[in-house]
């Protein structure tokens, strides 16, 4: 199969004459177009092309004709095609080349700054409105569960409890243990100078139970489960599964959101308790191993430092964080439109938003606690 084409160009005073031979296809056309571009301008008014030697031509070959017509049009004339073979004529008819496709780039046109600013603003407003609607729907759904708890999909809820809680235990445990270890290790260097070794226990226990335990757990859960919720619901939106739920008469909030939120609120506080325990164990290893504290002394100091209020407060906070993470994850999933890229954005956004909201809420709760607690 001959895959090459020849182009002869002869420039007369009144006419440009071109002779095309061979196969006009994706292999040969780029070079021909390149040569046409380098024909010296201005062009004569008449442009003639002899197509008698064209053996094969596909839609790429039509580009050459289009380009020649443009050249002829630019110099105010019309392209004269000579000895056009039937197969070429048929192709040009099939492609309806008499009405050439409109010019202009097929790349996405980036709107100007003002338009983009407007679009972004509308997006934020739209998002805020749908956020309110989502929170409202979720709240009414959860409230209706208080009246009729039997409507909760128990199997799903238990499965999410496993995924959010049990499956996260190893990583939460490991990170917390190391965190306790590091805190004890770092503070020991300072406290040793004053002979205050025993306060390592207080420091680790108080810092973890009051602040770091709930926060670290929340961050891990946001990364593991908040993202998973967003991706799961987002993919369901893309594949019309959410539409199917709606038309089958299920409420997505009940079917998809409630099990995730309830499971998270139940298990994340438990994870926090484990996080606290593992961190204290980490501190203990340093305390007993390198600071010459006895096991009893370390534990006694830990117990005397912590009040039951501290522990409850940490657990309460982590329940609030769980509520935030799970609803944000579900909400971001719901906002998915289109395809794979949108799912990715939703997942990222779920994690970033959750972590931001967790830290923000933690700060607000810290201020409230400061003035409220006697």
């Amino acid at each position: 199969m001959k895959n090459t084409a020849d182009l002869d160009i002869s420039i007369g005073s009144d006419a440009l004459t071109l002779t095309l031979r061979g196969a006009l296809n994706l292999q040969s056309v780029p070079e021909i177009l390149d040569r046409l571009e380098h024909v010296p301008r201005p062009l004569p008014q008449r442009i003639r092309v002899d197509l008698g030697g064209v053996t094969r031509m596909d839609d790429c070959g039509a580009l050459v004709i289009m380009e020649l017509r443009r050249m002829a049009g630019a110099s105010g004339g019309e392209l004269e095609m000579e000895r056009t073979p039937d197969h070429v004529r048929e192709l040009l008819d099939f492609l309806r080349l008499d009405s050439p496709p409109e010019p202009g780039p097929i790349r996405r046109i980036r709107p100007d700054l003002l338009t983009r600013f407007g679009e972004k603003t509308m997006h934020v407003v739209d998002q805020a409105a749908s956020h309110v609607a989502f929170v409202g729907e979720t709240t009414t759904t959860l409230a209706s569960l208080l009246v009729r708890p039997g409507r909760l999909r128990l199997g799903d809820t238990v499965s999410y409890m496993q995924r959010v809680g049990v499956d996260a235990l190893p990583i939460v445990g490991l990170i917390s243990f190391l965190l306790g270890l590091i805190m004890a290790f770092m503070s020991a260097v300072q406290l040793q100078q004053f002979g205050a070794n025993i306060y390592v226990a207080s420091l680790v226990a108080l810092a973890m139970v009051r602040e770091l335990g709930p926060i670290m757990t929340a961050i891990i859960v946001a990364g593991r489960s908040g993202s998973a919720f967003a991706a799961e619901i987002g993919t369901m939106k893309v594949s019309e599964e959410v539409d199917a739920l709606i038309t089958m008469g299920f409420k997505p909030a009940m079917f998809l959101v409630a099990p995730k939120v309830i499971a998270s609120v139940l298990v994340v506080p438990l994870l926090t308790v484990f996080s606290n325990l593992f961190a204290i164990a980490g501190g203990l290893v340093i305390g007993v191993g390198t600071l010459n504290l006895t096991l009893n002394a370390y534990m006694a100091q830990t117990m005397s430092t912590l009040s039951i209020f501290d522990i409850n407060w940490g657990i309460f906070k982590s329940a609030v964080f769980a509520l935030l993470i799970s609803t944000v994850g579900c909400f971001k999933g719901y906002r998915v439109r289109g395809g794979a890229a949108s799912v990715g954005q939703a997942t990222t956004s779920a994690v970033v938003t959750s972590i931001f909201l967790v830290i923000l809420t933690d700060s607000i709760l810290a201020v409230i606690l400061r003035y409220w607690r006697p």
Partner: protein, 252 residues
């Protein structure tokens, strides 16, 4: 008859322990419109994915364009890929790109065309599938049938020698479907493009197919092979007769 462009020898395909088809043998010749038939779930799309190297056979060999299909051999696999185009069942358009960008992607990557020529060619491709004017739309903004046609335009982008189409006309209205058949026949006649098509559409099969194979899930093998009109008239196999003549199911 011209030399085979695809040969399938002793192909056994399946997943894990589950065998889908056993010991398939057939050739596809240059310039044919070869249609793979069979009941739903019998492994037609799986066979197609074996032929384009996405799945590995459990046993047997496939050659495409004279080269052994072996996705592990990167160089040979790329040489095969340069000569084939594939349209997937669901369209598989990239959702983050407009239709125009979807079609332009292979053209800008693998051809010497640039600038305005790419834009023009993309518009001509979209015109051939009846989607001119939609180049700035995202796939999500289109109907299922339109996405399918756009996917065909993308598969056609480089005018490959062999085009694999997985259920091209499913979900298309009869007019678009007939237009697609005309496009297939046109490309086949003028450019000599070989087509490997998985389809259920009886009218389409009888219009376009020069040869068919029919797969059967029960026997895990090919039950009929040949010219579709002859099979329709002469085949003695009950399933084949049922398929072509739309007879209600026969009790066995």
């Amino acid at each position: 008859m011209s030399a085979p462009v695809i040969t399938v020898r002793g192909l056994t395909m399946g997943f894990g322990d589950h065998v889908v088809m056993r010991d398939l043998n057939f050739d596809i010749h240059a310039g044919e419109v070869f249609v793979i038939l069979g009941g739903s779930g019998c492994g037609k799309s799986t066979l197609l994915k074996h032929m384009v190297g996405l799945y590995k056979p459990m046993a047997g060999r496939i050659t495409v364009a004279g080269m052994a299909m072996d996705p592990d051999d990167d160089g040979a696999y790329r040489r095969i890929l340069a000569r084939i185009g594939v349209m997937y069942q669901g369209g598989a358009l990239f959702s983050s790109m407009t239709l125009g960008e979807n079609v332009a992607l292979p053209i800008t990557e693998y051809s010497g065309l640039r600038g305005r020529a790419v834009d023009d060619l993309v518009r001509l491709k979209l015109r051939q599938v009846g989607l001119e004017g939609f180049e700035h739309h995202l796939p999500e903004e289109l109907s299922g049938g339109m996405r399918k046609r756009a996917a065909i335009a993308r598969a056609l982008a480089l005018n490959p020698e062999i085009l694999f189409l997985d259920e091209p006309s499913a979900g298309l209205d009869p007019i678009s479907s007939a237009g697609l058949d005309a496009l297939i026949l046109r490309l086949n006649r003028t450019l000599g493009t070989t087509f490997v098509v998985v389809t259920h559409e009886l009218s389409s099969i009888l219009t376009i197919a020069s040869r068919v194979v029919m797969l059967d899930a029960a026997s895990k093998s090919i039950i009929a092979q040949g010219d579709p009109h002859e099979l329709k008239e002469k085949s003695a196999h009950p399933f084949v007769r049922q398929f072509f003549n739309r007879q209600p199911g026969m009790e066995e």
